[in-house]
């Protein structure tokens, strides 16, 4: 995986998330404060600013720069967690593996661990952690099955989508939504939907070449 290849993936993910801002606000509004789309658009903008000036950075440096920029520009719950994920992924890839799928696994494992530590939510609490956990599992499976990048991302995107859908029936136990658990019922967790949207864009990018 090259830094410029990574930048391409990040860029399509950022665009997709920004393009879904209204939908993310709406989902966050059921039991939260309806600003996830706003926050994630700020994160996406910050990320794209970093990409624009990323020449010469290594994969690890690029991820860390994205994390730092997001932490500064989008410091709400999801922004801080996403920033944490990028920072941890950057550290995990300081020494970059040649194999892209292996890189993905290391990055997501590190991000998941960092986000769990910072947010103190566990799998099953109906948060971003549920989506990330599913994606990480799927990536690990692809690695052990020796799949290529495109198939790996395709499967990861599908797990992210399934994980997001599954949250609709879960009771929120962390974050704002935990203050009004009944109102969350029947609607998927906004953070997980955001992850699924980003993963789908990334998979489509891999598909298209």
């Amino acid at each position: 995986m090259t830094a410029s290849g990574l930048a391409g993936y990040l860029s399509v993910a950022a665009d997709a998330v920004e393009g879904s801002a209204a939908e993310l606000n709406r989902l966050d509004g059921y039991a939260g404060d309806g600003d996830l789309g706003i926050t994630m658009s700020q994160a996406a903008e910050a990320l794209k600013d970093v990409l624009a000036g990323s020449e010469g950075l290594s994969v690890g440096q690029l991820l860390s720069s994205c994390g730092a920029a997001i932490a500064r520009s989008a410091p709400s719950t999801s922004g801080t967690l996403v920033a944490t994920g990028f920072l941890r992924a950057g550290k995990a890839l300081a020494d970059p593996p040649v194999d892209t799928v292996e890189a993905l696994v290391r990055a997501f494992e590190a991000a998941l661990k960092g986000i769990e530590a910072r947010g103190k939510a566990a799998v099953g609490d109906r948060t971003l952690v549920d989506g990330l956990d599913a994606v990480t599992d799927s990536l690990q499976l692809s690695l052990s099955s020796d799949l290529g990048t495109a198939e790996t991302l395709e499967l990861a995107a599908r797990s992210a989508k399934a994980a997001a859908e599954a949250t609709a029936e879960m009771e929120p136990k962390a974050g704002r939504a935990s203050w009004a658990p009944e109102r969350a019922k029947g609607h998927p967790d906004a953070g997980c939907v955001m992850l699924a949207i980003a993963m789908e864009a990334v998979a489509a990018h891999a598909r298209s070449g």
Binding site: D33, A71, P75, T77
Partner: protein, 333 residues
Amino acid sequence: MPMQKIINEPKAFVDEMLEGILLAHPESLRSPARRVLVRAGAPSEGKVGIVTGGGSGHLPLFLGYVGYGLADGVAVGDVFASPSSEQILEATRAVDGGTGVLYLYGNYGGDVMNFDLAAELASEEGIETSTVLGTDDVASAPAGPESRRRGVAGIALLYKVAGARAEEGASLEDVVAVVERAASGLRSMGVALSPCVVPAAGEPTFSLAAGEMEIGMGIHGEPGVGRGSLEPASEIAGQLVGRIVADLPFRSGDEAAVLVNGLGATPREELYVLFRSVHAALASSGVTVRWTWVGEYATSLEMAGASVSVLRLDDEILRLLDAPCESPFVVRR
């Protein structure tokens, strides 16, 4: 739909507000970094520093409590959004007088993560910090030891207590002790009568029909415990005080400080009508009101509605509430 707001570019809202505040109050406040404000004279050598922070749109929260006998520094977030750990760290550095810094803010995910991160960074720089969270909103979650409850207007009373104790020269440990005692005896609950519009969003945070009210709504429009038809002030007071008293619980003979807080658009006249009924409802539970604030202490832009906070008093807490304080927004002699 155009917003009925006196603003320029929605994106410039927070920074232009801060410019206005610094122009209006240069003797009181200075800005050591972007979206960070501290007392003009900070740091106070030897005094415990108090740093707070949170989203904009709640004036006088949070920055309005930076002043004598209150907090020392604040990290200012976007409207209804957390400040970054970087801002919090800047505030921490600017107010550290060598005897440690108290982080005192409301229990919201983004804020907690960013203050925790700042605390780690500060500790690497040799600045000791302790954290006390405002978790006063009884409507947000069941009571519990590791509280998940959000912090609302009651934090104004915690600033008053913490700031006065720090001004007395108490150690960080002693300041934390009394603020934790105050926080554990503090309960709030509110009612919303209209939504507000976040400038960058341009749309109401929720919808509420005329003649409806939402009991227990949070200060960002987070859903409350129930929606119903708008009741008379005495009924509203009865419901809010009833839940607050039962929750702690307050007992007959207790003495209390009361804060009746307006959310933004509710006239001060109505807050006093509400206070009158709150006073009566507490009296009928045997709770005596010894100290009072009625006004706008924690708002949600132009939301209509009010909250009631009740703080159980002991001699030390009452002494600290009675001490003078002075910021550009809150003065008590």
